[in-house]
């Protein structure tokens, strides 16, 4: 497919030259297609970057779900499986991943690099699904109002994981594995029923008595 060819050619170029091509024309010339063909699929090179990242996320979700135990997993394990699979994919594309992140790094920390926009949209839908499933199985506590913010909180978690991965210098990025395991465990302890709910429950009870 033409779209795939363009994407692959762009990826190869960026990996070889450590920078995007100087112009769309340069790339289409190499591919031997008219420049207009390019714009049928992408408006800019940035759009390809966003698409590649969205692909990483999609592949990670699909591959993780292929595991036979996927159906036995709770939400926590599913999120873990997604992260570990994503990490595998990023490991194979680490140079590109780091480069594209660096190119679009926002000035303010905590903000999302633009290159992750499409990836983020899919991820938040995925996280929302996981949380809904978790509420059904009572793995996640139902907290109206607060819970609308959860997908954004999980987005911050993935930014943390990506940041950790970018700086990890341990062999085979084993420390990132550990970081993921711990971060996900913590987050699910927080969204699960915990002492906070009991405290709120007591507060509500005391208020109602008046």
């Amino acid at each position: 497919m033409e779209k795939e060819r363009i994407k692959q050619a762009y990826l190869d170029y960026v990996l070889r030259k450590s920078a995007p091509p100087a112009s769309v024309f340069k790339l289409t010339q190499k591919l031997g297609i008219p420049e207009a063909e390019f714009y049928r699929y992408y408006a800019t090179f940035d759009a390809i970057d966003r698409d590649i990242w969205a692909d990483f996320g999609r592949q990670a979700r699909e591959r993780a779900a292929l595991e036979p135990v996927w159906n036995e997993y709770g939400s926590r394990e599913r999120l873990l499986a997604f992260y570990f699979t994503l990490l595998e994919i990023l490991k194979q594309n680490r140079s590109y991943a780091l480069q594209s992140l660096r190119r679009s790094m926002p000035k303010v920390p905590g903000f999302t690099p633009r290159v992750l926009d499409d990836f983020r949209q899919d991820f938040e839908v995925f996280a929302e699904d996981l949380l809904r499933e978790g509420r059904r199985t009572e793995e996640v506590a139902s907290r109206p109002l607060v819970q609308e913010q959860y997908p954004r909180a999980f987005w911050q978690q993935i930014l943390f994981v990506l940041g950790f991965f970018a700086k990890d210098d341990s062999l085979n990025f084993e420390r990132t594995d550990a970081a993921i395991e711990k971060a996900v465990t913590l987050s699910f302890d927080l969204v699960g029923r915990n002492s906070l709910d009991s405290a709120l429950d007591l507060a509500r009870f005391l208020l109602h008595r008046r």
């Binding site: 873990l80 084993e174 711990k182």
Partner: protein, 453 residues
Amino acid sequence: MSDSQEIIPTPESSKPLVSLPTTKVARAARFAKTGLKVGANYVKHYARRSVGAESTTENLHAANAAELYGALSEMKGSVLKVAQMMAMEKNILPSAYADQFAQAQYQTPPLSGPLVIKVFRDTLGRSPYELFDEFDINARQAASIGQVHFARKDGKALAVKVQYPGVADSIRSDIRLVKPIALRVLGLSESQVRPYLEEVETRLLEETDYKLELRRGTEIADRSAELPHLEFARYYPEYSSTRILTMDWLPGQHLKEFLATNPSQAVRNQLGQALWDFYAFQIHTLRQVHADPHPGNFLLRADNGGTLGVLDFGCVKDIPAEFYEQFFALLEPGVLTDEVRLATLLTALEVLRPDDPAAQRDLYLRTIKASLELVAQPFQQPSFDFGNEAYIQSLYALGDDLMQQPELRQQREPRGSRHFIYVNRTYVGLYALLSELKAEVRTEMPFLAEAKL
């Protein structure tokens, strides 16, 4: 395949651990906190003492041990390994510490399923579901630096050990962290323990190399194949990597569960004999020993009058010939009464130094003699009853006594060849197992008479 030996994690133990300190700084902070608390416990102890209240040293040890164990169990992996090791050294460690640490042998929070799969993909390129016909994602047992899963392939039941990520990486820094605390608790000085710590570090790092374990396990099992009533798991290199070790799932129960079934004296004797012969063979013939004889590494069952399954060849100590000769010369009958020969041997073993002042030399000689009289007892008779409570009690009491002796505590340097550590640990573990079994064992060693220095 019976399921009787399955160790299924209790709900508590499978609960994920929330507060695992990740960074080195966090770990250090955790230890610093423990150090403070241990200090505080001492202060409380002496404060209570000074107002005449009943505060036994026992209490103090129990409080410290709980504190230390809390810190250690938050830092899985190598630290836990050190804890286990100290637990083995019952004769060094007061019993309260030992009891707390002994828990470490059974309790560690498991890895999540997805991470287990990832380790497979990372090191073997395929998921466990592709490799095996059946794979239980929930760990059946925790090992100190990994966990054990049950799998089945072509009808064969397999035990698959999976290592925690980053264990090898963190061992060095962990030892640096544990060192000051351990030294304080054990009342040792820091300056001259380096050779010993190096020895421990080497063993710990070796333990993270499952390829090495596979090779050594296969080798020792092959060479020990002739010994009766023993059973070894076969290793499967095609399903093993540096972080995954696949072997046969041996039937049997761990010591505690097995003893709860009230095995007969004959069965216990046979198991004890098998254990003793296995160690005698390794030490005297192979000169290479499975130096981790803690209860978690053996599976017992009553079949054929008692069969012993041996697991885990992670910790193997090669015994150098020179050390071997000097060490076993110490156990020969008559050495203890021959002061000159004893002194010569102890000097060779670096326990005594030519420039020691006479008083110190006497102190060491006296202490060593007292210890050896006890430790060597089983070797000097045709058979020995490890069910003899009094003997084991006096063995443990000896360690406690040594710790209490003011003159000895003032000796701020450990003595002796570094090879003592694991050879000692092996015998302490072996004696402990045999006494739990209450086995009567033929201990005679014909070669002793031949061994000449």
